[in-house]
């Protein structure tokens, strides 16, 4: 069903945006339908987890560590004025778990993986490799979209946990080594003020952001224009649209998940 409309150029402006959103939704429905009803290739899934998860670690670790460090320093500079130095790591922890960890990890992965997905699928489209798949009685959603979607759903929460852990550890290091705060109080306040709901919220967000990166990257790649210019544009748009969508969704997820968790 998606292959008819997707082969056409979408109209511009707000109508084009709504049309594109609708096509991403159709692609997502097709992918989840395929995920539930068809046999998955474990080799393809493991390769995608390796590419998306394992190979993104250095980027995520550096991002997590320096975010935790700068957050610890800034929080300390403000809290020191009101003699609340030992609450520094609690702020770092809550921020990393519920907001910065999932959002920054998702943005870094969108830049690295979302772009790669769009470029790979876009190149396959312009060189007729996707048509070749279809003539070999293989649905592109089953073969190309589903393993990437599932791999991002698995890998992004794991990467987020890694970024949160490294960020808090780096913040602790800055607090105790550079700023001279007592490590015992830092740790005790962090445990006291960081709830399981903060961690859970971060993981739920990461799960959703993984789906956004996969769907936008795959949609832009499968739907890219002709030639090198088309692939280039699809790659750029995949990063820009998935990043914007992540930031907008994050706001609404924070509101809705906080209310949901408070009501439980």
């Amino acid at each position: 069903m998606i292959w008819g409309p997707m082969s056409k150029q979408t109209s511009g402006g707000i109508y084009g945006w709504v049309e594109g959103l609708g096509q991403v939704a159709i692609l997502a429905r097709e992918a989840f339908g395929s995920l539930c009803s068809r046999k998955l290739s474990w080799d393809d899934l493991m390769y995608q987890i390796y590419f998306i998860g394992w190979k993104s670690q250095s980027v995520v670790l550096v991002t997590g560590a320096f975010t935790g460090m700068v957050l610890a320093a800034q929080t300390y500079f403000q809290f020191h004025k009101v003699k609340m130095d030992t609450a520094t790591l609690a702020v770092v922890s809550v921020s990393m778990c519920s907001e910065l960890g999932p959002v920054l990890t998702a943005l870094m992965v969108a830049g690295r993986v979302g772009a790669a997905i769009a470029a790979e699928l876009g190149t396959m489209r312009v060189t007729e490799q996707i048509d070749a798949l279809r003539t070999l009685a293989t649905h592109p959603v089953d073969y190309l979209v589903v393993p990437r979607l599932l791999a991002l759903h698995i890998a992004l929460p794991l990467l987020t946990v890694e970024a949160i852990f490294v960020g808090i550890l780096a913040g602790y290091g800055v607090g105790t080594r550079l700023l001279g705060i007592d490590g015992v109080y830092l740790y005790a306040n962090m445990v006291k003020y960081t709830g399981g709901t903060d961690v859970l919220m971060g993981l739920i967000k990461a799960l959703i952001f993984g789906g956004i990166i996969a769907m936008v990257g795959c949609y832009k790649g499968l739907n890219c224009g002709e030639g090198a210019e088309g692939v280039g544009r699809a790659t750029t748009e995949a990063v820009v649209y998935s990043s914007i969508t992540i930031l907008i969704c994050n706001f609404f997820l924070t509101l809705s998940l906080t209310r949901l968790m408070n009501s439980l």
């Binding site: 069903m1 007729e128 003539t135 073969y143």
Partner: protein, 247 residues
Amino acid sequence: MIEVRELKKSFGPNPILNGVNFTIQDGESVVIIGRSGGGKSVLLKHLVGLLQPDSGQVLIDGENIVGMNERELLRVRGRFGMLFQGAALFDSMTVAENIAFGLRRYGQLSSGEIEKRVSEVLRRVELPGTESKKPSELSGGMRKRVGLARSIVYNPEIVLYDEPTTGLDPVVSDSIDQLILRVRNEMKVTSVVVTHDMRSARRLGQRILMLHKQRIYATGTAEEIFSSTDPVIRNFVEGVSDPKEQK
């Protein structure tokens, strides 16, 4: 049997096909000729459901594939093999993985049987021992041969060729033509070849269809087409851009 009835297709405001009709019998070898950008490849892609027309019908053994969704079309496509203009090999895979792709995903064969089938089909296209090469290591002619091997390895009933000799030198073009003839004769497949290479058209076509101004302008045997006195056909067959320049 393939039947195309009143097929119409436009891209934006530009009509590409405007009421195309023809029939191809089982086992027949048909060549579709016409000018570049005239809609030959678009027509070929309609036969296997890669494109959906604006209106009209494409019947494969009486079953209309127009309007079928992608999953229904997968069943129909199992009867087709297709050689693309640029071969469209999966560049992340080796030659053997490319050829075995369809067999591995849906076949009931063991790994040993698949390897044997891959070696057999590579011998048939005269590329033995290239199993572990990547597409980037192959020349244009070799890529076409691997593309052909991939499209015939699961014994399809109908093979579609999209400009099989475009971009190849005359010697390699000749070898690809010989290969297509051998596949047709040995496997008894229905062949549909799109080309503007007149030497290939004469050699491969039991029947030739000429696409001109969005319709089938002429149809006939190779002899009838090449001996035609119709000015449009003559100009195309002889490669004349403007008849006035001949005088």
